[in-house]
């Protein structure tokens, strides 16, 4: 796997998780912007890693 892709994708996953945790800590609900974007970041990073693994 390309190390740069892995690093950037991993960073996106971490960023997403951080946003989700921070939003929940601030009392945000399921539709809060932090949750939506956090899930998207995790999905994008994980999806990219998945595609990279399947190559």
């Amino acid at each position: 796997m390309n190390p740069i892709t892995v690093a950037l994708s991993g960073l996106m996953v971490l960023l997403g998780l951080a946003m989700i945790v921070r939003t929940i800590a601030a009392g945000g609900g399921a539709a809060a912007a932090g949750i939506v974007l956090g899930v998207l970041f995790v999905a994008a990073g994980a999806g990219r890693l998945w595609v990279e693994r399947r190559r």
Binding site: N2, T5, L8, S9, L11, M12, L15, A18, M19, R22, T23, A26, G27, G28, G29, A32, A33, G34, V36, L37, L40, F41, A44, G45, G47, R48, V51, E52, R55
Partner: protein
């Protein structure tokens, strides 16, 4: 000199995308173009989006990204269905007709022009980090003009798809910078309240402003059309297309993240960021050690990305304009190719001048609004055309087929295209209703284009709703040896007629250009073969007469695509076609005959029943043989492409088949060849 050039070439080769990058993105060239446009739009349009969408900027960018994904699916199916250069014009041509194809192309052409102007204009505000004078006045205009001049020069010289593979490196690095900005912004700039209530800082936009911001955000996807114009040139497998789709989707997330950071940061920093919003984001960091390096890095990347996008827009404009000229949707003179570089220099020159004119008012919002007009209209047509193609060509092989379909009878309705069309329609309507400048300038541009198109087609006596192509060679002005001033071309009413008329047109056109005395003449001839049982002056059937008229009209249309060529048409009656052709050649004193070589024999029963191929004494039919032996001038034979089918006399030649090669529409008179 040569060594230096070789060295330069080696350096360029080293910059080409390695296999890993190709595997990762499916196609670095396509990724580079699409992502380049999207990144560039952040640099020039984010400010306008934030001003309108306020605290919901992130949501606007998220919905725009969803729209972009739907559009990618439609483009992927449409472009893979008919793999021709042209993007939206090709999809609309097969989905609707030639007029809608032109409307889509003309709208995208407007987008490319605006994008060239926008990118060139936006570079000035970013480069001003290095020299403040460049952000206004004469230096600002001079720099914008220089960027336009540079991309025009690059595109006039021409380059293949590999330059976009090299651009993918920069685009990828810019993505990393965007991600860094998101990380730093979320950690150091973002007000935590925004995560639970995005409008807490910047406020809530009105519905109209929200929709308008959305139209501006989706306009960034016009890069899809430029990459779609590479169809047939860039080889991408089905898996590659899927990887490209995932890579694009992943790349969109930092784009949305920047929206979140921007909507909570930019409105608090005054209006200075409006024309350089990403720079405004970096300026929001209080720590000088972080702010200054970031500002310089952003300025450098913005300059590079904007020039790449400007270049891609000029590239898209030249490809699209060439495609329009090739299909006689704009005068072919405008699409003339450079004799050495094979690039549409006239189009590129006109595009550069118009872009310069658009930069002069230095009004960012005006440019962005018109940009949205063209994009939303073209996207609407693309979605609708893909839906229509499911009905028109349900059985045609689709190298890529949109998922999520609703079966209605024998047809599968692509739900993503339906949703995309609905979103594009709302966006287009909002541009028309909410922005005066876009409404009048955009509508004026479209009206001018349609009037130009219809007038051109009527004056040239060409159909408005049907495709008329001119061969690519007709757009070049290569100097080739002149040969003939008058040519006799017997037509048969088959698709081969186009080929022989094009051959004759090239030979005659060259003659005309070189001697400069009047036009070369092609005599298109239809021979009625009258059986011995009937008198020679017996009346031909109405069906035969109609077929002859149609074939001759088609031949005239194709032949007169060539500059300076005049096509005269005639019909003659004879017992044998070969004798008639030779007689007419002598009577008219032509310098050459261009003839479609016919099959060796029309009688195939013997072979089908086990007869031997070797019994045929020649490789052409008796008419061709007679003309070759008796013609008073040179005879040029045109044959269908060789292949198994053509080599085997037990099957018809491809020219007589109702299947037509791409780019050669069926002869007007129908597929049945006249008996010989």
């Amino acid at each position: 000199m040569s060594a230096a050039r070789d060295g330069g070439r080696r350096r360029l080769q080293r910059l080409e995308a390695p296999p890993a990058l190709k595997r990762g993105f499916g196609s670095p060239a396509l990724f580079g173009i699409v992502q380049g446009f999207l990144s560039a739009s952040l640099y020039f349009a984010l400010g306008v989006v934030v001003v309108n969408a306020l605290g919901l900027t992130w949501l606007v960018l998220l919905v725009a990204t969803l729209f972009g994904a739907l559009l990618v699916l439609s483009y992927m199916e449409g472009a893979s269905l008919h793999q021709e250069r042209g993007g939206a014009t090709v999809i609309a041509r097969y989905g609707f007709n030639e007029l809608w194809s032109f409307v889509a192309g003309w709208a995208i052409l407007l987008d490319y022009l605006i994008l060239i102007a926008l990118c060139a204009f936006a570079t000035t505000d970013y480069v001003a980090v290095f020299w403040g004078e460049l952000s206004e006045g004469a230096p600002e205009l001079a720099l914008a003009f220089a960027v336009i001049g540079y991309v025009a020069w690059v595109n006039m010289r021409g380059a293949g798809s590999r330059r976009w593979e090299r651009a993918a490196f920069v685009v990828f690095a810019d993505l990393a910078l965007q991600l860094l900005l998101v990380v730093l912004g979320l950690a150091m700039l973002l007000e935590p309240d925004v995560l639970t209530d995005p409008t807490a800082i910047a406020g809530t936009p009105g519905t109209e402003d929200f929709v308008f911001a959305f139209t501006i955000a989706i306009a960034a996807f016009s890069g899809l059309d430029a990459s779609s114009a590479l169809a047939g040139e860039v080889a991408v497998s089905r898996r590659g297309l899927k990887r490209l789709f995932v890579a694009r989707a992943a790349a969109a997330v930092p784009y949305v993240g920047i929206g979140l950071v921007a909507s909570s940061t930019l409105p608090q920093t005054g209006a200075s960021w409006y024309e350089a919003p990403v720079l405004g984001l970096a300026s929001s960091f209080e720590q000088e050690w972080l702010r200054e390096p970031l500002r310089y890095a952003i300025a450098l990347f913005a300059l590079t990305i904007l020039v790449i996008a400007c270049n891609a827009a000029m590239f898209g404009l030249s490809r699209l304009g060439y495609s329009l000229a090739l299909n006689r949707q704009i005068p072919s003179l405008v699409g003339q190719l450079h004799p050495r570089h094979n690039t549409p220099v006239v189009l590129i020159g006109i595009g550069a001048l118009l872009a310069v004119a658009l930069v002069i008012p230095t009004d960012l919002e005006f440019l962005v609004a018109i940009y949205a007009f063209g994009a939303t209209l073209a996207f609407l047509i693309v979605h609708l055309a893909v839906i229509r193609l499911r009905f028109r060509e349900p059985a045609r092989d689709r190298p890529y087929k949109i998922p999520f379909n609703l079966r209605i009878g024998r047809v599968e309705l692509p739900l993503t295209a339906v949703l995309g069309a609905a979103m594009a329609a709302v966006a287009f309507a909002s541009v028309l209703l909410l922005h005066d400048a876009a409404r009048w300038v955009g509508a004026g541009w479209m009206a001018f284009g349609v009037v130009l198109y219809v007038t051109y087609r009527v004056v040239e006596d060409k159909p408005i709703f049907k495709r008329v192509t001119v061969p690519a060679q007709a757009l070049t002005r290569r100097e080739v040896e002149a040969e003939f001033g008058s040519i006799l071309v017997p037509v048969l009413g088959t698709p081969m007629d186009d080929d022989i008329m094009q051959t004759a047109g090239r030979l005659a056109g060259e003659e005309n250009e070189d001697d400069g005395e009047g036009g070369a003449v092609i005599e298109a001839l239809w021979v009625f073969e009258v059986p011995m049982a009937l008198p020679l002056d017996s009346r031909a059937s109405d069906e035969d007469l109609q077929r002859a008229r149609n074939a001759l009209a088609r031949a005239k249309a194709v032949g007169e695509e060539y500059e300076g060529v005049e096509v005269a048409t005639a019909t003659v009656r004879a017992r044998r076609a070969g004798e008639a052709i030779v007689h007419e050649a002598k009577r008219r004193g032509v310098e050459a005959i261009v003839l479609a070589a016919e099959e060796p024999t029309g009688i195939r029963g013997g072979l089908r029943l086990g007869g031997k191929q070797g019994l045929h004494d020649t490789f052409v039919g008796h008419t061709t043989r007679y003309v070759l032996q008796n013609a008073p001038c040179r005879v040029i034979l045109t044959a269908p492409p060789s292949g198994k089918a053509a080599a085997d006399p037990t099957v018809p030649v491809p020219g007589a088949s109702p299947e037509h090669p791409v780019g050669h529409p069926p002869a007007v008179g129908g597929p049945a060849p006249p008996a010989r």
